[in-house]
């Protein structure tokens, strides 16, 4: 049994969220500056990523999707190698072959990222089966969106994990949108978590814009999965503040909706709380943000200076 990990402090959580935000701002800046790969940013969803990933242990494994930068960075990914991957450089985590959409980082336990919506759901039970059969105490966390929950593979995945007692923590980031479609057009209820009942699975919806609530809920859920070796469905109720992908477009979204959610911005909320509690001053936060932005500049320089893959990579890695 591992010793319990220290609970991250409020300032730690804030720093982690700021790192994600700064990374995504970098992406936005590149996209606005000229032709750049289309990236799905997670601006506004930082609390879900940081809250859940902070509840995990090193031996746990993560599967994620197209909107993965938050999960990767929270897990400790190097923003330079991430940006390099987005830019198709050979120093990227996947040698530039993934690009932004399928970044896996095996050494961090961030594995098998799929941009087929639902792909992560199809792979998760198998990863958990390996954990079950090959030993180890790790659990498997599978991040997916409210859109993915509409794919049939959601049903198949949760059902199998329940029937086979697989240690999967399913985390649905319900960010209200599924590309260009609001979730109200795709499901009758507002929430995904009640769908767990069909599989006799415990579930919980948490305010996904309050990182401390997410951390608490995820810690509880992860502990339960770890102990019972049964799956759990955690829904983080959140919002993506930008369009589906960069360069972004939100012309189809009610501005009032965006404004209301920006009021609940997870970084602003935690900042306010930390200032109110006296843990940090606005000056501290500004300094932190500036430091992190500086690191992102360095990361971007690294990525930009990285070479493109050798042409031989076109046909390398197809077969083992």
């Amino acid at each position: 049994m591992h010793p319990p990990r220290p609970v991250p402090s409020g300032p730690d959580l804030l720093a982690a969220m700021l790192r994600i935000r700064a990374y995504e701002e970098k992406i936005v800046a590149f996209s606005e500056a000229g032709p750049f790969p289309h990236v799905c940013t997670s601006v506004g969803q930082e609390a879900a990523a940081v809250g859940v990933v902070s509840a995990l242990r090193p031996e746990d494994e993560i599967l994620t999707n197209h909107r993965s930068a938050g999960h990767l960075l929270a897990r400790g990914a190097d923003p330079g190698r991430l940006l390099a991957e987005v830019m198709g450089r050979s120093t990227g985590y996947c040698k530039g072959k993934s690009g932004t959409l399928h970044v896996s980082v095996k050494e961090l336990g961030v594995i098998l990222t799929s941009t087929i919506v639902g792909g992560e759901l199809s792979l998760a039970p198998g990863v958990a089966l390996s954990r079950t059969m090959l030993g180890g105490e790790g659990i498997v966390v599978c991040f997916f969106g409210d859109g993915a929950a509409c794919e049939g593979i959601f049903h198949e995945s949760l059902n199998l994990a329940a029937v086979w007692n697989l240690p999967v923590l399913y985390v649905c980031e319900n960010n209200q949108w599924q590309a260009f479609v609001h979730r109200k057009e795709t499901m009758v209820g507002d929430h995904v978590s009640p769908w767990a009942a069909a599989y006799g699975m415990d579930s919980l919806t948490v305010d996904g814009n309050d990182v401390e609530s997410v951390l608490k809920a995820a810690t509880h859920a992860a502990a339960q999965v770890r102990e019972t070796r049964k799956p759990f469905l955690l829904e983080a109720w959140t919002y993506r503040q930008r369009g589906h992908m960069e360069p972004h477009d939100q012309s189809y979204v009610d501005p009032a909706e965006i404004a209301a959610w920006k009021e609940k911005d997870p970084i602003d909320r935690l900042s306010a709380r930390l200032i109110a509690s006296g843990e940090l001053t606005q000056g501290d936060i500004d300094a932190l943000r500036a430091e992190i932005r500086g690191a992102m500049d360095t990361a971007a320089d690294f990525a930009l200076a990285s070479p493109f893959p050798d042409p031989s990579e076109l046909t390398a890695d197809v077969y083992a």
């Binding site: 450089r89 690009g99 959409l101 399928h102 859109g147 599924q178 493109f308 076109l314």
Partner: protein, 324 residues
């Protein structure tokens, strides 16, 4: 003539056919959000967003088609068809036959594919050959805005399931489209350039690469004929054979992977039915047997390039006339 993109051409085709026939409707993930002009013109019954679930989108199209509607569904990117294979192949493609002809499936499945957007192999995979291999389906993959329009209109009017692939590299390239009604029958290839020495056979984006290669070949005194298949199923054998019986040499070009691709079928047909006229081996230039990479430099190298086509043209010209 007006200058419009393939994307716009499809919009025109859809609008015209929806106006002409009230049974035509369109649905898919984001269709109503992205085609607001159609939504306004035809209302939310006929232009619908769907849940994110390709299987039921295609299955619903098949069920609706069999019972009186003429749906067009947008499944976005070709790899997502993997979630709809049962509905397309096992239901739409087979249930007419299995039912002894009781049902027809007038439906169109639209999907994008091909390089140019660095989206990687889970968005970019040229799987048109799968559907050519499967019974009961038709497959279309145009190369010009005019063809996008005319073939989409024909596909909507066809009483069979039609897979309609849009090469991403062509979506926003403008081209001339006639102001008159454009209706291009399925199953007819187009000779894009006349020539006498070698036939370059392709479809979608690489037709343009072949045309560029033909220019270069012309400078070197070689007259290349360029054929755009347009419809991959049914395949226009007559046009192919007429050309190759004339030139005696053929190079088949596509971005899709080589093995069991459309190029294999074309080469097999030619070597069976134009055997006596062939002066050189039929060469294939295709994408490699690899997933599509994201990195721009690799993605660009994935599809056959004009200089490789020129080289292939020179090779078949150099080939001595064989003697058994």
């Amino acid at each position: 003539m007006s200058l419009i993109t393939a994307h716009e051409a499809l919009g025109q085709a859809l609008a015209e056919e929806m106006r002409r026939d009230s049974r035509v409707l369109m649905f898919g993930e984001g269709v109503a959000t992205k085609r607001t002009d159609l939504l306004e013109a035809f209302g939310p019954q006929r232009v619908r967003n769907t849940p994110l679930a390709e299987g039921i989108i295609a299955g619903t199209a098949a069920g609706a088609a069999a019972t009186g509607l003429r749906p067009v569904v947008d499944l976005l990117f070709a790899p997502f068809l993997c979630f709809a294979m049962d509905e397309i192949v096992n239901s739409a493609g087979k249930l007419r036959y299995m039912s002894g002809g009781q049902f027809a499936f007038p439906m169109v499945v639209l999907a994008m594919t091909g390089g140019g957007w660095t989206v990687g192999a889970q968005h970019n995979h040229n799987v048109e050959a799968w559907f050519v291999h499967s019974p009961g389906l038709k497959v279309v993959m145009p190369s010009t805005p005019e063809d996008f329009k005319g073939l989409m209109k024909a596909a909507i009017r066809d009483d069979n399931p039609v897979l309609f692939f849009m090469d991403m590299g062509l979506a926003f390239v403008p081209g001339e489209v006639s102001e008159d009604e454009v209706l291009i029958p399925l199953g007819q290839a187009a000779v894009r350039r006349k020539g006498t020495d070698v036939t370059l056979i392709s479809y979608a984006k690489t037709v343009h690469t072949c045309l560029a290669a033909a220019e270069t070949l012309a400078e070197q005194g070689i007259s290349a004929e360029v054929i755009d298949l347009r419809t991959l199923k049914p395949l226009d054998e007559a046009t192919l054979l007429a050309s190759v019986r004339k030139t005696g040499r053929a190079v088949v070009v596509h971005e899709a992977s080589r093995l069991c691709g459309v190029g294999a079928e074309v080469a097999a047909i030619l070597s069976e039915k134009a055997f006596d006229h062939l002066k050189a081996p039929v060469l294939r230039l295709t994408g490699p047997d690899a997933p599509a990479p994201s990195s721009y430099v690799l993605e660009q190298a994935f599809a056959p390039q004009a200089d490789a086509i020129v080289q292939a043209g020179l090779t078949v010209m150099a080939e001595r006339v064989m003697a058994g």
